[in-house]
């Protein structure tokens, strides 16, 4: 069983931006979802775990080893798929994987070939292995990304916004792949897409402005909201009134009409119907709660 313990982690950039603010988390084997809007600090956190940047304060322990002090320890065991990445042009997919495999310490040629080929097959890139990665489409590129993250002996895999820009089919295939490998190791999935977390993760945290504003099991978090979420279709012009009157957590357009979703422990006025809460409701509620505390 692997454990990743993050203790009071903070990061302030030289321009004064507080990217991470006193974060503490404890993660063990399985898929862990890190949810948050753009700019919440997810990538900063991921990079810090991957020893690509140093925190201003706090500590990270992976299997009880302080990896801030010993970055080499985490590098041996991590697979990292950054949010955006480029590759050397004009180098084939297979050769590039091979190169990264060498850098990850697979010095035995046969073993390396075996693993690279297996990964190419698993990510459905085998028939494209002779092509240069920089000519790949978005989905293929992400699959390449996960293949390189799985090279060697990763005990911790970090994937940063992996599904952005993928079509539904690609996304499914990708998530399946992740869940397959996520059984015996830690996989941290950072995303702003709620479904990704809902579909895959047994544990999650919500990050906003560098702080953890909620964490737990997605199902349990959802359960807490049972009977507290209501929707109503209204005219767009009425929106402001509703916002003043209720705790609106989200609005969306349904067939051209505005649908408001509110949080209320009691039955609101007529026309609101109770719906079964979903993870999205949790997410929006937490965010709006956080925003209210800031403005208040």
């Amino acid at each position: 069983m692997n454990t990743l313990k993050i203790e009071n982690l903070s990061k302030t950039y030289s321009n004064g931006v507080k990217a991470l603010n006193n974060i503490s988390l404890s993660i063990s084997n399985g898929m862990f979802g890190l949810l948050g809007p753009n700019g919440a600090g997810k990538s900063s956190l991921m990079r810090t775990i991957a020893a690509l940047q140093e925190p201003s304060s706090g500590a990270i322990f992976f299997n009880d080893v302080n990896i801030i002090k010993n970055p080499q320890e985490i590098r041996k065991q991590i697979g990292y798929l950054p949010q955006e990445f480029g590759v050397y042009p004009k180098i084939s997919c297979q050769n590039l994987l091979n190169h990264i495999a060498v850098l990850k310490g697979i010095t035995n040629k046969e073993e390396r070939k075996e693993q690279v080929d297996a990964l190419l097959q698993q990510t459905n890139l085998y028939q494209h292995r002779k092509k240069a990665v920089h000519t790949f489409s978005g989905g293929m590129r992400q699959r390449f990304g996960i293949a390189q993250a799985l090279l060697g002996n990763p005990q911790l895999i970090i994937v940063d916004e992996p599904t952005a820009g993928l079509d539904p089919e690609e996304r499914n295939r990708f998530l399946n792949l992740l869940s397959e490998i996520g059984e015996n190791i830690i996989v941290i999935l950072s995303t702003h897409i709620v479904e990704d977390v809902r579909d895959l993760c047994s544990k999650m945290a919500i990050l906003q402005q560098g702080q953890i504003i909620a964490q737990g099991n997605p199902i349990e978090l959802t359960k807490e909201l049972e009977n507290h979420i209501w929707v109503k279709t209204i005219n767009k012009s009425e929106l402001t009134q509703y916002q003043e009157k209720y705790h609106v957590i989200s609005t969306k357009l349904v067939s051209g009409k505005t649908q408001v979703k509110i949080f209320s422990e009691t039955q609101p006025e007529d026309g609101f119907t109770s719906i079964k809460p979903d993870l999205e409701s949790v997410y929006f509620l937490k965010l709006s709660n956080y925003n209210q505390t800031i403005t208040a």
Binding site: S14, R47, A50, A51, L52, Q53, E54, Q72, R75, K76, I78, Y80, P82, E84, F85, G86, V87, Y88, P89, K90, I91, N98, H99, I100, V102, L103, K104, G105, I106, T107, E111, E114, Q115, D117, A118, L119, Q121, Q122, Y126, Q127, T135, G145, Q148, L150, G152, N153, P154, I181
Partner: protein
């Protein structure tokens, strides 16, 4: 629309930091050039010539700015990914293309114009000598701007912009800029532009190619101005004509066409996406493999090695397959091959060729090597070190356990390979040249030493680049900083910025000279010290670079010092301590050897010395000094220890008419002992190296005394002494012999400098004809000479005089030489491992001493020494010695040869390595041998009074004898070659003259008169009175003076003899040649030939003839012509005529500007030529010959 786009574009460019940055750089650079006070002698700092020259050279730098603006002007849409947005607007292709172009052009033009403004401001600097500044002339600047700045910026912008627009690739844009440089570079090699530091000017057809082919017009500028006198440089604007005009027009048209073509093919509004190839659907059958993690991962040394190799492969592949690398390699191959070819083959001052000796080829390779190597290093250090980050691949790579050392070493080694590859390619080409020309003496060791002597400097710069690029926040800034460091510390600039001491010049390695006789000599030792010193610093740099190696997210500069403090292992502590100690120790050693063991003198120190000497000793100027009349020396040479000692006993005589009570002795090399009989030492001034002796009893006129001294000359510190070397020692008395009396030569002559120091104005002695004749000159006499010179056993020692005795003792060989008659005191001692060839010829032992490997031309030398002896004995009287020795000296001596009495020194690469295997070429070997043999008569037997006009008797007569003998042996083509060279010597020499050109009979130190005008005037004289008559006049001079002990003959005496044998009317032309400063411009305008009825041919020739006289202020004014000039009719081009082919060669009277001459001959002529032998100074000899149809 266009205007608003243009407005946007211009203001976009102008608001960028780069614009301000480049503008400032150019402004400062221009200011520095302007305030430096750099200009050839007598040329005003702010003359049109200087403005044009400096601006044209600086415009080479504009390419960087243009490249930058182009990338932001045309490639920014792609970089910032707004192409798609832009292309959906209503902008038309033409509006887009030309507004962007104009934006780039205007931005480049504005920034570069700053250089011109900076130059103007610089000339206002108070440091400049006001006498050499003229009133501000706006037209000078405007004209330069219009003819040089605007076209150059347009040409470069059009080409670079077109490439950028068409390829949309920044790499291709860099390459186009490099190619423009390459064009310039090649042209400057052909033309030998001043940037390339070569004295010999290019051949005429090369000049044409260079003048036309240089995109910056620099070569054309030099072509037009090459013969401009200082007066013209001060007064003339570059004229928009000739090659310069054609160059400008050609390149403007060419670049305009390129721009239009680029516009035509420019695909606007099409985002460049390559259609994907249809995916192959064939299903591959493969074994199903299951993903398993690999648990046995050990990060051991094997792992480090294999990651390093894997990374290195990727970095190497990137560099070797990238366009700039391939382009530079191709350019390099082209440059090396063309440079070797053009320098070896018919490129000498006499159209001579050289043997491809290894050291010569290495010199040719190493000259252009730094520019290309540094370009590669700067460019690829930025690209490689920032590569993963630019590609955004760094987070994947950086999260692997691969340690920094893997990336650091991979990038470092890739960079080191760049200069390594260039050097290797150079060597391969050089060897190919040697083999193909049948020169099998390959010196592989010498080639290998290139990697050390020429490569270590690059290694330092790479280590420096590694550090800089890890400090700077982006790669472009890093590249600029590296470039600036190299320019500031390692180029000529550093001296101008006051960085003079070699320890302050970061990464500057000392120069190295290699020649076949000496090898690297003392240069090597000095180099080793600096190699250790800078490499140690480089290792410290790269260690720091490694410590702060960027990993993960970029941390800002202020965190880097913290990073430095982390993780110091014991090993790295030891390594850095040892390296640091090495750095300090070698630094101290360099300081000791530069400043303490040998004299470290700056320019200021030298001036202070000269000022101090003048102030202290000027009062002794009028003091008469005794003169040497007898010299006996004992010289012991220790070449392998770079040391010699001398014991000398002189007899002095008071040859003046006054008695001498005090005597001033100046030591050139510090003396161990000095005694003057009958005199006692009053003071010794060790600062000004001066002794003052006082006679107990004043030395009366004609009275004699003895003078003896001892000295030991040793190599001190890094001092490089050319005279005493391991093999090829050549020590002339003027380098060590103490001199008597006040040395006027030490005084500062620059009046601006004198004024600053409060010294009175320096006035040159004005010599009147009366002075020439009657001035009492008592400081030089012919002398008796005797020496015992010893050297190491494996070497031969030579000195003037007959060899009396030779013996060996204590592993040393001793030679006793003694002169049989009095000689001019031009004494030298030689020692070398010589091979000897001796032959008795008509009572004279002709002895050659040469390096065993340099035996190519020995027979040639022998043959022409005999021919010269025969001719001179027959025409000018007997030869006074029983020997004629010719001894080889190393190539570091900057002259062709030097005639000592009975003994001639000849320089290895000027004589022994000349390739005369193709006997249809000019026989330079013969020319040099004849010239130096002739000096035995002209300079030794007949030695002129040491005053103005003396060179007529030495160089003038020797050149004359050389011409006459060469003509007898090789015909018209040989004499034409000599004339061409003499003409060029004259015209290019006077264009850089530091003083007003005197009339020939008053020549002082002017080489261009001694070797140029003397020659043509003697040839003209021969045409006028005939060879026999001229020889008899010369013979008469010799007969009158050969017994003189005092050197007394003057140019006036020679002219008087000439007047005696010529008619009154010829005196006038003789005076024109010898007493006035006149040049000619004769040419054949047109000529036709017609067959007459009696089978004869009538040739009608129209001739233009002009003469110009230079007046007091240096201006050339046309004057009339009326003299006889030869016309020749030939069956082939006179350049190819040895003996056959001359139909007629006859003098005709030329007395008008335009002359028509009718000649009837029996044979049909193909060529007609006026002054075919080149006896008149004419800076265009080509138009003297006309091809008949």
């Amino acid at each position: 629309m266009f205007t608003s786009l243009l407005h946007f574009e211009t203001s976009y460019q102008l608001k960028r930091k780069a614009f301000i940055g480049f503008g400032l750089i150019f402004l400062v650079f221009g200011y520095m050039l302007g305030s430096q006070g750099f200009a050839p002698a007598n040329v005003n700092f702010n003359s049109a010539y200087q403005i044009g020259y400096n601006t044209a050279l600086t415009s080479l730098g504009s390419v960087f700015a243009i490249m930058f603006f182009t990338i932001s002007g045309i490639l920014r849409d792609r970089q910032y990914k707004i192409e798609a947005i832009l292309y959906t607007t209503s902008i038309q292709k033409n509006q887009f293309f030309f507004s962007r172009f104009t934006g780039v052009f205007l931005a480049s033009l504005t920034t570069f114009t700053m250089a011109l403004i900076g130059f103007l401001l610089g000339t206002l600097s108070p440091q400049l000598d006001p006498d050499r500044l003229m009133a501000f002339e706006l037209t000078f600047y405007l004209w330069t701007w219009i003819t040089i700045v605007v076209p150059n910026i347009f040409i470069c912008t059009a080409i670079i912009f077109s490439v950028g627009a068409l390829t949309k690739s920044s790499i291709a844009t860099y390459v186009s800029a490099i190619l423009i440089y390459a064009a310039y570079f090649l042209c400057s090699i052909f033309f030998n532009s001043p940037l390339m530091a070569n004295a010999a000017p290019g051949a005429a057809d090369n000049m044409f190619m260079a003048a036309i082919g240089d995109p910056f017009g620099l070569s054309a500028f030099f072509e037009q101005t090459q013969f401009w006198t200082p007066f013209e440089k001060n007064t003339k604007l570059i004229s928009f004509s000739g090659y310069f005009m054609w160059n400008r027009l050609l390149w403007l048209t060419l670049s305009g066409t390129v721009l239009l073509a680029a516009y035509k093919f420019f695909s606007f509004k099409k985002i460049n996406i390559k259609a994907k190839k249809k995916q192959e659907t064939s299903v591959e059958i493969f074994d199903k493999k299951i993903y398993k993690t690999i648990n046995r991962i050990t990060l051991d040394t094997k792992y480090e090695v294999s990651s390093f190799i894997s990374q290195l492969k990727i970095d190497l592949k990137f560099v070797f397959k990238s366009l700039p690398f391939i382009a530079i390699i191709l350019i390099w191959i082209f440059i090396v091959a063309s440079e070797i070819y053009t320098r070896l083959y018919l490129s000498g001052a006499y159209n001579d060729s050289l043997y491809p000796t290894t050291n010569l080829l290495i010199d040719l390779i190493k000259e252009p090597l730094p520019v290309l190597s540094l370009l590669l290093i700067i460019f690829y250090s930025g690209e490689l070190i920032w590569r993963e980050r630019s590609l955004n691949f760094n987070s994947i790579i950086d999260s692997t356990p691969a340690s920094n050392i893997v990336f650091f070493l991979s990038k470092g080694i890739t960079l080191i390979l760049l200069p390594f590859i260039l050097i290797t390619i150079g060597i391969v080409i050089a060897i190919a040249f040697q083999l193909s020309s049948g020169y099998a003496h390959l010196e592989i060791g010498q080639y290998l030493s290139m990697y050390y002597f020429n490569g270590t400097g690059f290694l330092f710069n790479i280590m420096l680049a590694l550090l800089i690029l890890n400090i700077t926040p982006n790669k472009y800034l890093g590249m600029v900083v590296i470039g600036l460091i190299i320019v500031i510390f390692q180029s000529q600039m550093s001296g101008k910025l006051g960085l003079l001491h070699p320890l302050l010049r970061l990464g500057k390695f000392p120069d190295i000279e290699f020649n076949n006789m000496v090898g690297y000599g003392d240069y090597a030792t000095r180099f080793h010290y600096f190699a250790v010193f800078w490499t140690a610093l480089g290792i410290i740099f790269s260690f720091l670079a490694f410590k702060i190696w960027q990993r993960g997210a970029t941390s800002s500069l202020k965190f880097k010092p913290q990073k430095l403090k982390l993780h110091w292992s014991v090993k790295s502590r030891i390594l850095i301590t040892v390296t640091f100690l090495l750095f300090i120790v070698s630094g101290c050693a360099i300081f000791y050897n530069t400043n303490i063991a040998s004299d470290y003198t700056t320019n200021d120190d030298v001036l202070n010395f000269r000022e101090g000497y003048e102030l202290k000793y000027k009062k002794y100027e009028a003091l008469a000094s005794p003169v040497l009349i007898d010299i006996k020396t004992k010289v012991d040479l220790y070449p392998s220890e770079r040391r010699f000692s001398i014991k000398a006993n002189y007899i002095l005589e008071n040859t003046s008419s006054q008695s001498i009570s005090k005597i001033l002795v100046f030591e050139r090399t510090s003396l161990k002992e000095i005694v003057i009989e009958g005199a006692k030492l009053i003071t010794y001034d060790s600062i000004y190296n001066t002794y003052i002796f006082e006679f107990n009893k004043p030395l009366q006129p004609k009275e004699q005394t003895t003078f003896s001294y001892k000295l030991i000359k040793e190599k001190n510190g890094f001092e490089i002494d050319r005279s005493i070397v391991n093999n090829g020692a050549y020590i002339t008395s003027s380098t060590f012999e103490p001199s008597f009396g006040y040395r006027k030569g030490i005084e500062i002559t620059n009046n601006f400098e004198r004024k600053k120091r409060g010294l009175p104005e320096y006035k040159r002695k004005i010599i009147s004809d009366h002075h020439l004749q009657s001035e009492e000159q008592h400081n030089a006499r012919k002398i008796n000479f005797e020496t015992i010179v010893s050297t190491e056993n494996n070497q031969t020692a030579i000195a003037p005089g007959e060899l009396i005795k030779k013996w060996s003792k204590d592993n040393r060989t001793f030679y006793q030489y003694k002169t049989s008659s009095k000689i001019v005191p031009a004494i030298a001692y030689f020692s070398s491992e010589y091979t000897t060839r001796k032959e008795k010829y008509k009572g004279v032992s002709i002895e050659q001493y040469y390096d065993a490997f340099h035996n190519f031309n020995i027979e040639n030398i022998q043959k022409h020494s005999k021919i010269a002896l025969d001719y001179c004995i027959e025409n000018f009287g007997s030869y006074p010695f029983n020997h004629l020795r010719i001894a080889e000296i190393p190539a570091h001596w900057p002259f062709g040869g030097f005639a000592h009495p009975g003994t001639i020194s000849m320089v290895e690469d000027r004589l022994y390595l000349v390739d005369y295997r193709n006997t249809t070429h000019f026989n330079l070997v013969a020319k040099r041998a004849i010239h130096e043999v002739a000096h035995q008569w002209f300079g030794h037997i007949l030695s002129p009074k040491n005053t103005a006009g003396a060179s007529m008797f030495t160089e003038g007569f020797a050149k004359y004898a050389e011409a006459v003998i060469m003509e007898k042996e090789y015909g018209m083509k040989a004499i034409r070659q000599l004339s061409k060279t003499a003409n060029r010597t004259y015209f290019s020499g006077r264009s850089y003259a530091s003083e007003k050109e005197p009339a020939l009979y008053r020549t002082e130190g002017q080489g261009y008169l001694a070797y140029g005008k003397n020659y043509t005037s003697m040839l003209a004289l021969r045409e006028l009175i005939g060879e026999d008559m001229l020889n008899s006049v010369i013979k008469k001079m010799i007969d009158n003076h050969k017994e003189d002990v005092a050197l007394s003959v003057t140019s006036l005496e020679f002219l008087n003899e000439l007047y005696q044998v010529t008619s009154e009317e010829n005196h006038k032309v003789i005076d024109d040649w010898f007493k006035r400063v006149i040049i000619y411009d004769v040419s054949i305008k047109n000529a036709s030939v017609k067959k007459l009825e009696d089978n004869t041919y009538e040739v009608i020739i129209s001739i233009d003839a002009n003469r110009f006289e230079t007046n007091e202020i240096g201006e050339e004014k046309p004057i009339g012509i009326n003299e006889f000039i030869q016309i020749g009719l030939f069956t082939k081009h006179p350049d190819n005529i040895a003996s056959k082919g001359i139909i007629l060669l006859k003098k005709y009277q030329i007395n008008k500007k335009e002359n028509t001459i009718k000649i009837i001959v029996n044979e049909v002529p193909k060529y007609v030529s006026i002054d075919p032998l080149g006896s008149r100074l004419d800076n265009n000899l080509l138009d003297n010959t006309f091809r008949l149809n």
